[in-house]
Symmetry: C2
Subunit: 407 residues, 2 copies
């Protein structure tokens, strides 16, 4: 049986999943304990290469650190992408520890307090203004520090994007400045001692429909051109991202070429003629790292209960909450799963894979068809590179935190 | 407007919520940073008193540490309850650090590995067997250590309980030994060097319907009497718990008196005549601590977007995931919420309270009616004493972890 593309991308050695070229059982010995997350450096590099070769060369790639803030991953991506986006002071520190210049770091997100804004001004990163309050805090911090804050406006667009896993633009939002309020904020900023760079419009995330994303990009450019009419020269245009990855059997991978063609046309016909100084940024988190990581957990028990076979593993939702279906999902579906040390064996059974937590929520694979696994075998959950460890309740029930490795 | 009972239980001082008798703004200064969790010692004590006075005196109370493992809470409850239940080696350490004797600690949960079983045997706690594999590991550990393990059997009942927020018994389960397989396990244990104590049947959690819980207890006792027919004398009967607390407006508090009457009858007519040596345990987590804690977070921004008023606070789902509706809930409903420093002010607006995370999931109060709050005010989420901090993805977006205090 051919491996699913998600699994095949890692490759196999002697029937074992390979991560970074290391067969899984050896990798588990090297890590020293299960469960763990493993990220594949070559897949990360390849992912950025794919983006570079498919999107127009003028597009600058920003990595949204929130998707996976592991320092080694961020350091590697600093050699691959052009910019970082950070959502907290801690993520900002991680980004500032890389060779990327502070000017290439954007700081977005609602609720930025005085302390984090002061840090951002001192660091010289680009602060994306999400409210009038934040604008005031930025100006004050600049005055206190004797520095000219670099700012952009995050805009809540006046349109919505279909097909997003999470909608973050259009209608009322906690994110950004409503498009119709931007001119007034621009007037306030013109009177303040700040360096205005441009706009960021982010309409949603985890979208697998290229048509919807292309439409969103067109409408975003339209909106930015309208806003630019009354703004200083625009040097920064962040079109957001929202590129989805396939998690479930029914999901089709995103048609990246269609997005590349759309962006090329937008650059040529709209952005370059009207905003010649603008650096155009696509900001991606999940799309860059999501498919490059696996969560590996060991079978500690197998049992049969009233006709149902169970594998109990030493991991669970405390490490990979999304795979249990309990993080924002309405309907639970199985993430791609495999017995990592029996990758090429035939399917032998339908089995339910549960974690070691004492809650029925801790379900990692519901009635999945796998080769027959025994105690000691390694169960692998795929699509674990983004929103895995940090998006999970690691302290739940007090099990030790898992390790993370980049190979 | 009268305060809701959940809120009124804490009391107020000069219009501020009081926790442990300390008005909220002073408490926030004492803690030194927001957000934080605050647990009320007197409410914890009162909760156990309520249970003691309503349930029959012979019932022993066990606290399931997984609900809230804060060491100070566990130390206080060690003076109030009879037993602890733990679900991991780490929770076992927390329990062993209290004055309660190891024999009064039960260790339950699927996927217990060799290391944690060895620790449990060495500690002398009661290990609840959830599979044949675990039974083997316990016997081996006892042999290696030259100790006689104390064991009970966790039984997956042959009935289901209606009305539970989470069903954990009946049908196929990863939890416990199917009732029909217990006789065979008992025969195996009889041949092994272990001290058999009795049975634990736990059918579900967060149940607000006393009729369903009473029926479950009756069926549980029936089942244990049947199993006891072929077992050594039963000295431990853990009837589980599953007592729910009201989270939402529509929820009615559990009728504890009905449960007390049912238990009294079961003790008199079934347990005492048939299992005279049995210690009868009710195991509760959420019911003991859930209503005794609050999550306190400060307003850092307020903004209007297209007709909707938003309060942005410095906390969010990374600390109190369940209140955002993203932890196992199908439909999102608002947890009880208040402006803690304006407790007695009239409702001034309908407002949406969001956390500081850059995700639309971070919604703490959807269109809630509150006194008008300003930046710097303290928003309080109630029912935060159980499955709060440890059941939340604290590392998500890298904000500092909140503090916890017991007052």
């Amino acid at each position: 049986m051919p491996l699913r593309p998600t699994i095949a991308a890692f490759g196999q050695i002697d029937g074992q999943l390979a991560v970074g070229g290391v067969p899984l059982e050896r990798l588990a010995e090297r890590v020293g304990s299960t469960p763990f997350f493993a990220y594949d450096r070559a897949l990360l590099t390849g992912r950025v290469k794919l983006l570079r070769s498919t999107l127009p060369p003028r597009i600058r790639l920003s990595y949204a650190i929130k998707a996976n803030p592991m320092p080694a991953v961020v350091q590697h991506l600093a050699t691959q992408v052009d910019c970082f986006d950070v959502a907290s002071a801690s993520e900002m520190r991680t980004a500032l520890d890389t060779p990327l210049p502070p000017a290439n770091i954007s700081f977005a997100g609602p609720g930025k307090n005085e302390a984090s804004i002061t840090q951002a001004v001192a660091a010289g990163v680009t602060i994306e203004i999400e409210s009038a309050t934040e604008a005031g805090r930025i100006v004050q911090a600049g005055g206190r520090l004797g520095l000219r804050p670099r700012v952009a406006i995050r805009v809540n667009p006046d349109f919505e994007v279909k097909g997003s896993g999470m909608r973050m633009g259009g209608g009322p939002q906690q994110f950004g400045i409503d498009a119709e309020k931007v001119p007034s904020l621009l007037a306030d900023l013109a009177a303040a001692d700040v360096e205005f760079l441009g706009f960021h419009v982010f309409a949603g995330s985890q979208n697998l429909n290229a048509d919807f994303l292309c439409l969103a990009q067109r409408r975003t450019v339209d909106l930015i051109l309208r806003l630019a009419d009354k703004s200083p020269p625009v040097r920064y245009v962040n079109l957001g991202g929202g590129f989805g990855i396939p998690y479930f059997d029914k999901d089709q991978p995103l048609d990246l070429r269609a997005i590349g063609a759309n962006l090329a046309q937008l650059l040529e016909t709209a952005i370059q003629p009207n905003l010649p100084e603008a650096r155009v940024v696509i900001e991606l988190g999940r799309y860059i790292v999501g498919e490059c990581g696996v969560y590996v957990t060991r079978v500690v028990d197998r049992k049969e209960s009233r006709g149902r076979e169970y594998l109990v593993v030493d991991g669970g939702l405390h490490h990979q909450l999304a795979a249990s279906g309990n993080f924002g999902q309405v309907i639970r579906r199985n993430y791609p799963i495999a017995v990592g040390n029996r990758l090429c064996e035939d399917v032998g059974e339908a089995v339910t894979v549960v974690g070691c937590l004492c809650t029925p929520l801790d379900l990692l694979g519901d009635n999945v068809r796998l080769p027959r696994a025994e105690i000691g075998d390694l169960i692998v959950l795929f699509q674990a590179g983004a929103y895995g460890l940090t998006a999970s309740p690691t302290a739940f029930l007090g099990h030790p935190p898992p390790l993370e490795v980049l190979i």
